[in-house]
Amino acid sequence: MNNTYYYIESAQLNNFFIQLKKDYKVFSPVVKDPKAKELDYYYQNLADTSPLVFNAYRAVEPLKSFFTYPYEKVTDYFALAKNITDVVEKTIVFGVKSCDIFGHKIQDFVFLEGVEVDSLYRLRRENTLFISGDCTDFKEVCHCLAWDVLPHPTEGFDLNLSPLNEGYIVEVGSKKGEELLQQHKEYFIAAKETQVAGRKAKRNNLIERLKKHLLPQNLVSKDTVQQLVRQGYDLDTWQNFMLTCVECGGCNLICDTCHCFLLADKKETHLNEKVRLWDACLYANYARVAGGANPLKTRKQRLRNRFMKKFDFFVDNLGIPACCGCGRCIEVCPGKIDIREVLKDLAKKVKVTK
């Protein structure tokens, strides 16, 4: 199935996009400030017939925001209302990028595996299709290649769009994607071999451009990062970078691999509800226990904790570092703490053995 390619003209893609809105809640990227030096894309559920915007790179929001919400009811108890999982809508997300898909492996690991499956997450996941796209440009902060993530999706999508001439090469990535395409087959034609070759050339071209952008940065590699954070545990790096941290938790909340949440309780008329809130390990009370003891008392410890979780815990438990190089945390940080720079500082001070 991965070798099935179609072609869709831009005008037809718009028709397809509008048609899908009849059966799905469709989110797609929009540009709020077209004059910005570097465009930002935001996901929106557009009700009108405005044309689909193809985003050159990932959106501002993390992909996780479609599957867990910053604040949401996860269950009620004792006096039962309706099953919360009944209210999940069929959804399509356009504009998903390769880094998003990679980052989302972490969310899937947390919520779909382990001792229990989170049924609300699973239901949303099962009812959501990704129509992803190749990156055709990158932001200054983008550094996917440093983590061996390519700027075009290779898996984890339902359909993928690669811009070519006045249309798009469409790659089918799943059975659901194939079904969706077959239901709307009037918009698609078979792709020619020359078009598929054209896609490859465009992809390679972007990879070369991105490499040129990253090479002077001397970024840390995937293979050494666990060793760096382990051996660098007691270095002054954490203290130095902590100085500008204002504990806003922005890096956590916008990160597509950060998944921490807090369960809380509230009363809604006669019903008791359990709500789930995204939590952030940079918050002062993140690890506090009853009575006031706090294993992550200082900002330095909390900043380090974020790195240990991503580059030690997940390497041990899932075999991959929990970073996709999307650079969202770099953009969001009011203290200008740059994950690339923190790791580079460790690399300067730690002697890597392998």
């Binding site: 996860v74 269950t75 009620d76 108890y77 004792f78 099953n83 919360i84 999982t85 947390v110 919520f111 382990g114 001792v115 229990e116 499956v117 989170d118 049924s119 239901l123 545990y233 998944h259 921490c260 949440f261 807090l262 369960l263 809380a264 309780d265 509230k266 009363k267 008791n272 509800e273 359990k274 789930r276 939590d279 390990c281 993140y286 690890a287 506090r288 226990v289 009853a290 009575g291 006031g292 003891a293 706090n294 294993p295 008392k297 410890q301 979780k309 030690d312 815990f313 041990d316 438990n317």
Partner: protein
């Protein structure tokens, strides 16, 4: 579809005052809720909040669960204000319990501090239920003052049992106290255990656990034979919310009982 965050309703059947700051709540869940000793539950005060506790009752009693709670925080202080017949919520049980099978045939040294005796009481009940399987049960318990000792009557009953050896101490005595005075580490000497077939179980405040563990290592216990109940702020109980991470583990699903062997190379485990 399984609703993993929904608590089971449980009525407070009785409340026992253990000390000025500690009460035991005897709960009757509306659904059968079986647990293994050492596993923990999340106890919900409806509409207000929840907190993790390890039951203090005998796991062989299926219709009731005791939870011994010290008044230290927001949820626990509200729980202490409750009276009988009120409904609470229980999620769980979560985590791995004490590995009783691995304790078979051994001398089991149990070191408790303060309210840390709560989970250990559940462990003691489990051990007593099949005492033939074990060689000996040795309890060393410390509390801050004589009035902070919990399960006073039970302790003197247990001391009469065969194969059971109990010594208690308090950090600070009072005029009526005739027993030992000193930290729990001061009664970790001349232990009637055979180090070749002994395990130690430690539960109490982090600072007490740290020094008890160091003392046990000093005495010759091997890291793999020291079992520690780690206090972390478990929220979901299912290894998803992230709060209770200890190195590569989550206390909620990989613990809350760990061997010292598992944790000894990790940073800041006692904080």
């Amino acid at each position: 579809m399984k609703d993993i965050y929904r608590p089971v309703e449980a009525t407070i059947e009785d409340i026992i005052v253990e000390s000025t700051t500690i009460k035991t709540f005897i709960l009757r869940p509306k659904e059968v809720l079986e647990f293994k000793t050492g596993q923990f539950i999340e106890l919900t005060l409806p509409g207000v909040g929840e907190a993790p506790f390890t039951p203090s009752s005998d796991p062989n009693i299926k219709d009731k669960i005791d939870v011994t709670i010290m008044n230290v925080g927001r949820v626990t202080s509200l729980l202490h204000g409750l009276s009988k017949n009120i409904s609470l919520g229980i999620r769980g049980p979560y985590g791995k319990g004490y590995p009783l099978d691995e304790f078979a045939g051994k001398d089991i040294l149990i070191v408790g501090g303060g309210v840390g005796l709560a989970p250990l009481r559940s462990l003691l009940f489990s051990l007593f239920a099949t005492i033939d399987k074990f060689n000996k049960v040795v309890l060393r318990y410390g509390a801050r003052t004589p009035s902070d000792i919990i399960y006073k009557n039970a302790i003197s009953e247990w001391a009469k049992k065969k194969k059971v050896d109990i010594v208690t101490t308090v950090d600070v005595g009072d005029p009526t106290w005739k027993g030992n005075v000193g930290l729990v580490t001061t009664i970790l000497k001349d232990l009637p255990v055979d180090l070749n077939k002994a395990v130690a179980v430690v539960c109490g405040p982090p600072i007490m656990m740290k020094f008890a563990t160091l003392k046990l290592l000093d005495l010759g216990f091997k890291p793999r034979d020291i079992y520690l109940s780690m206090e972390k702020n478990m929220s979901c109980g299912l290894g998803k919310c992230g709060h209770c991470r200890i190195g590569r583990y989550y206390a909620c699903k990989d613990g809350p009982v760990f061997t010292h062997e598992q944790l000894k190379d990790m940073h800041d485990i006692w904080d």
